[in-house]
Symmetry: C2
Subunit: 409 residues, 2 copies
Amino acid sequence: MPSISTKGRQMPPSPIRKLVPFAEAAKQRGTKVIHLNIGQPDIATPEVALNAIRHLDRTVIEYSHSAGYESYRRGLATYYAKHGIHVTHEQIIVTNGGSEALLFGMMACFEPGDEVIIPEPYYANYNSFALAAGVTVVPVRSTIQDGFALPPISAFEALITPRTKGILICNPGNPTGYLYSKAELERLREIVLKHDLFLFADEVYREFCYDGASHVSAMTLDGLDQHVVLVDSVSKRYSMCGARVGAFITRNAELYASVLRFAQARLSPPTFGQIASEAALATPDNYFTDVIGEYVARRNILVDGLNTIPGVTCPKPKGAFYCVAELPIDDADRFCQWLLESFSHEGHTVMMAPCSGFYTDPATGRQQVRLAYVLEQPLLLKAVDCLRAALAQYPGTDKAALASASLVG
Amino acid sequence: MPSISTKGRQMPPSPIRKLVPFAEAAKQRGTKVIHLNIGQPDIATPEVALNAIRHLDRTVIEYSHSAGYESYRRGLATYYAKHGIHVTHEQIIVTNGGSEALLFGMMACFEPGDEVIIPEPYYANYNSFALAAGVTVVPVRSTIQDGFALPPISAFEALITPRTKGILICNPGNPTGYLYSKAELERLREIVLKHDLFLFADEVYREFCYDGASHVSAMTLDGLDQHVVLVDSVSKRYSMCGARVGAFITRNAELYASVLRFAQARLSPPTFGQIASEAALATPDNYFTDVIGEYVARRNILVDGLNTIPGVTCPKPKGAFYCVAELPIDDADRFCQWLLESFSHEGHTVMMAPCSGFYTDPATGRQQVRLAYVLEQPLLLKAVDCLRAALAQYPGTDKAALASASLVG
C-alpha cells in the first residue's frame, strides 16, 4: 500500500469542523445544537442575488474567463471604489472563495521554507494553505488582555529573519473581531517597506464594522502597490458562503500574471456563483444597515452575556461576527467535545470552535474558544445560559476561578 | 519590490487559453473565430439541472459539508454503481471541478520531488498541478503512429526510479481521445502493484465512448483499492463546465481522510453547482444517446476532413471529444497564432491548442495541434476548409510534404 505524503499527514483538521461528528451524534440523541462554531450566518442572501439565479436564461453552463467574467470584475472595481479601494478589473482575479485566493497567493509569492508573520490567534485555515504552499507560519502574539490589538512593531521586528517574505492580516479579524486602526496599519506599512515584504490582507468582513468605527483597507496604504495582496469573498458580505466566490486583488502586475496562470490551470471560478455575485452588487444599502444592526445586537447579547459568567473574559470586538472568550477550564478542546457528548441544558447545547487551532502552539489557546454570533438573538441568549450551566457542571472547570470571580463580580 | 516565487514564475500559461488575446483581436477585426481550442461543448445542459437552479427555494446560500452534500454523494454512488464502479458516499469528496481533485490528490499522495509517470501527450494542466505540488512529471511517450495507445510496459519500467510514486492516466484521453482497453489497464495494474504506486485515473469523459467501445474504469481493477484515485467531473458529462463540480474518489481510507482535511481548509464545494449536479443525476438516458450520436458525427466530419488535407495525419479516436493532428508545419504555436493574427477564409479562422503544452518537452509536439469537436457540424466543415486553405498559405508549411502527400493521396 503506497504511503501518503508528509503534507497529507500533517494537514490539520479544521478546528471549526472537526467536532462535527460529535454534533451529529448529539442531534441523533435529540439535543438541539446551537452552532456558534462556524461563520455560517443565518442572514438571508439578498433577493437580488437569488433572483438572478432563479431567472437564469442560459442553456449551456459554460466556463467563464479564468479571471472571472469581465462584467463582474468591472462591477467589483466599482464596488471597491465606493470603499476607497481603487483597482481596475485587470487587477482582480475571481477565485473559488477567499480560500483559493490565499492558496494561489501563497504559492505565487513564497518559496517553500519562506516565513510569513501572522498575528495570532489567526484563522485556522491559514495553517492549511501555508502547509500546502510549504510556507512556515511565524506567529506574533496578540493578547486577550489588549483586546487582540496589533502587537507592537518591535514584536514584528524581533521575528524578522532572512526567510521572512510576508505578513498576513485579517481585518476585521477572524477569530478575534478586532478592527485595525489606521495607525496600526501605518505601522505595518513601515515594516513591510523596510523589509520588502508582501502584505496579505484578508478583508472579507469589510462591511461589518460597529460602534461608528470604519474600515481601513491595506490597499489604501501609500507606496505598497507592489506589496499588497487583497483577499476578498462574497461569502459573508451577502451571506452566501456556498457561492464560493472570492477574489485575489493586486496592483503588482508580475504577481497578477502569475496568479492568472494558476487560475488558468483550474479553468474558471463557478459560473452560477458569479451570476449571483454580480447581481448582488446591486444589493440596496439598507440591507447592510439592517444586517449591521442585527450583528451589533447579537454581539451585545453574546459578549455582554459571556462577561456575566464568573471567570469568563471576552473583549467586545468592533468588527466581523466572532469573538474569542477565555474560559476557566482545563482544555477547550475537551470542553467543546464534552458540551456535545455529555451535556445539555433544557434540551440544548452549544458548539464552539476551540482556539487551539487558531494558535501555532495549540497550548496557547487551551482556555479559549471562538464563538460566531451568526444566529438569532433568542438562540444567543440560550447559548449564554447553556455555557453558564455547562461551566458549573464541567469536571474540568477551575472552581476556584469561578468562586473568586464571583466574589470580585 | 518583493519577488515572486519560483513556482510563481514557472507556472505555465494554459496552452488552451494563452492565445485568447489574439482571438479577441481577430474578433475585433470582424473575423469569426471557430473555437476548437477548448473543451467547452455547445451541447445544452440537461433541463433537469437548469430547472433545479431556476426553482431554487433557499433563502440563505450556505456552505455544504466539506465533502459535499451527503444526498449528492449518495446519488453519485448510485450513478457510479450503474457504471460498474462500487463506492460508498464516504469514499467520495465533491471538489471544485476535477482540477481541485487532482491538486488535492497530488499534494496528499506525493512528496515534493516525487515522480509521476504520465503517458504523453497529456492534459496540459497536469503540469500545473504537479508544479503546485512540487511533483516531477515523467512522461512516457505514446505516438501518433500507434494512435496514442498505451506505451508498452517496458517503457514504464525503464522510467521507474526510487522517487516514482504514481502513474496518472486520462481515459478516455485528453488530448488524444484514446480509450484504453481492459488489457491495457491490466498492464497498468501489474506495474502499479509491482512498484506500489498510486494510480490516478482521470475519467471525466467516461460517457463519451464511440463505435461500440465501452469504458473500463481503473476502479474496477482487482487489488488496487489502496492505490486508485478516481478523478471525476460533471463538466463534460452534462455540458456544465461552469458548475465547477468534480469529485475525488478513493477506497484508501487514510488518503480519503487526508484529502478531506484539504477540503475542510477550503470549506466547501459550490452549493449552486451541487444543486445542479445532484439534479443532473436524473438526466434521461436518451440525452446521452443523442449527445454521443452528435459527437460521433462531429468526430467523423472533423477527423475524416483533416485526413483529406495533404500532409495531415489524425488518428480517429474512440472517446472524449478531442483529436490530435500532425500538420506539415514548422511550429504549431506559430501556426495557431498566425491563424488568429494573419489569416481568414471566408470571414472565418480556427483557434486550436498547440500541442507543445501537452508534452513535457515542448519540441515533441511542435507539429501537432489539439482540436476539440465541441461545435456544430457546419462549423466543423468550415474549420476543415479553413485549415486546408491556411496550410496552403502559411509561410511555415512544408510545401514538399504537401506535394508528396498529394501525390500519394
